[in-house]
């Protein structure tokens, strides 16, 4: 596992490359795209475990933080969807170089899935396979859900929430600041805005009847993308502060993702 920084000097991104195990090396690589904010914190360990497992199975893996998130340069307010879409393309180039031209699968969870799909619309030939886990198709609804999670997190953390925190500012989501630009992009993230997304092939993972996933499936199929849908229901809360009563690394989720990234590769 090699931590490093990449990208332009004024907006360096943090990445971790998990090289493919030499004994099992395949011509396959996986680029993992984080969700946003607290959801990214929550999935960090899960992606780390997934990356380790894939690397043992001979897959090069790159995990990275978008600009203004995690260990990457930039403040919270420097991050926005268009920039993060370009970060995916930049990370793809980096992984392409490090994996010596392996076919790359993009794997995104939640907002990371949406960002990966937007990046695929920009450059549909780059990913060999697009795996989207509960992609978000409704920005305003997501903002509302984050506001609700924020209120819930404060109640959980304080017990009695101080009066100064009774009102949640609109630019604040569970400890992360949202720029005006990002807020605007969320407001414009609607099913209609996803028209034109395409890829060589796509796998969508979500609980049955997930509306956002259906929107992505329709948009992808409209462009001729072969789409496989996988029903997967889990019990963990994407935005919880800690794992609480759910697994920090849901084994079944890691196994499912690994199977779809490299079929029949279970080290």
């Amino acid at each position: 596992m090699t931590p490093f920084r990449f990208g332009p000097s004024q907006r360096q991104l943090f990445g971790i490359h998990h090289p493919a195990s030499p004994g099992h090396a395949r011509r396959t690589a996986a680029l993992l795209c984080n969700p946003f904010g607290q959801e990214a914190v929550r999935t960090h360990r899960m992606f780390r475990v997934l990356a380790d497992r894939l690397a043992r199975a001979g897959v090069h893996v790159l995990r990275f933080d978008y600009h203004g998130t995690g260990d990457s340069s930039g403040d919270d307010t420097d991050g926005h969807l268009e920039a993060w879409r370009n970060d995916v393309l930049l990370a793809h180039q980096e992984l392409h170089r490090r994996s010596m031209g392996a076919a790359i699968t993009w794997v995104g969870a939640r907002l990371g899935a949406t960002i990966a799909a937007l990046a695929a619309r920009q450059s549909p030939d780059l990913p060999d396979h697009l795996i989207l886990w509960e992609p978000l198709a409704d920005g305003p609804a997501y903002l509302g859900a984050m506001a609700e999670h924020h209120r819930h997190a404060l109640v959980q953390s304080f017990g009695v929430v101080p009066s100064v925190h009774q009102h949640t500012p609109s630019r604040e989501a569970m400890g992360f600041e949202l720029s005006d630009l990002l807020l605007e992009e969320f407001r414009h993230l609607t099913p209609a805005s996803l028209a034109g997304i395409q890829a060589r092939r796509a796998t969508l993972i979500a609980p049955p009847h997930d509306h956002g996933t259906a929107v992505f499936a329709d948009a992808l199929r409209a462009q001729g993308t072969p789409v496989t849908t996988v029903n997967f229901h889990h019990g963990f809360d994407w935005a919880s502060e800690e794992a609480l009563n759910t697994a920090l690394v849901p084994h079944e989720a890691v196994t499912l993702l690994a199977e779809h990234i490299v079929p029949a590769a279970q080290p």
Binding site: Q38, V41, G159, V160, P162, P169, G175, E241
Partner: protein, 272 residues
């Protein structure tokens, strides 16, 4: 400011980010920023990143990193238990800072379990000259219990009663020997042992800042509590104690983050 990903430790199993101030050499004291619970080195709501950058602006180098088996760090081949391994890891972080930034005095800052790990390391390594513990071990006084009910009574009645009911229900269902685990695996030293240790640290010249948040309401809930809990001990007036009811345990609201950065930054000037 420069941020450099680093791999270090006897087995190169630890991963972190070294933050160095721009331009001039860093101050002679550097900060080590620790994991809080299961959150990786960026800290809850990225607070360690924000703190590292704030400290860099004040001229301090820092290293935020994942302890063995947490975040991105691997589990080493070792026979140490978790607490001992954490101390070994933090000492390795100080070794790395000494080698790469030529800094040989250290402040350790941590939240919750991070505070406990800093506490243990300060006792084991004389290079530690400062300790900042957010929601570290807390020792209630009789006034704490009275304040607890008074403060809860001010809030909505459900908020006041639910946490108490939840704890009572959990306690009924949990065997007594498991209670320490149920509390997150923290085993606080006795009040006497804490006082002895803190006195020895302060006598050694270690600067200490303890911050208690509004999430600690049941065990810490008024500004003078620390001094009253340890009245008669010399260290009680030398330790900087802060009760911050508008900050929560994971520093969620942005205003709480700003308050904490200001508070730690202000205290950090002691080491400039």
């Amino acid at each position: 400011m420069n941020e450099i990903p680093v791999t270090f430790g006897a087995e190169r199993h630890l991963i972190g980010t070294l933050a160095l101030p721009e331009g001039n050499p860093p101050a002679r004291t550097a900060f080590v920023l620790l994991n809080a619970g299961v959150v990786h080195r960026i800290g809850p709501h990225r607070i360690n990143v924000k703190l590292a950058r704030h400290l860099a602006g004040l001229g301090f180098a820092s290293l935020r990193f994942d302890l063995s088996g947490q975040g991105d760090s691997r589990v080493p081949v070792s026979t140490l238990d978790f607490a001992q391994q954490a101390v070994a890891d933090i000492r390795a972080a100080m070794d790395h800072l000494a080698r790469t930034a030529d800094v040989h005095r250290f402040v350790i800052a941590g939240i919750c379990s991070g505070a406990d790990n800093g506490w243990n390391t300060a006792q084991a390594d004389p290079r530690v000259v400062g300790l900042c513990m957010l929601d570290g071990y807390a020792y209630p006084t009789p006034k704490t219990r009275w304040m607890r009910y008074r403060l809860r009574a001010r809030g909505p009645i459900l908020s006041a009663v639910l946490p108490w009911l939840r704890r009572k229900w959990a306690a009924l269902r949990t065997p007594k020997e498991d209670m320490v685990q149920a509390e997150g695996g923290r085993t606080p030293p006795s009040r006497e042992a804490y006082a002895r240790t803190m006195q020895s640290l302060v006598d050694r010249g270690v600067e200490v800042c303890v911050v208690y948040t509004g999430s600690m309401l049941s065990v810490y809930n008024y500004a003078e509590q620390y001094r009253e809990a340890f009245a008669g001990h010399g260290f009680a007036t030398r330790v900087r104690s802060e009760y911050q009811p508008n900050i929560d345990h994971t520093v969620t609201p942005l205003s709480a983050q700003q308050r904490l950065l200001g508070l730690v930054g202000d205290w950090a000037r002691t080491f400039a």
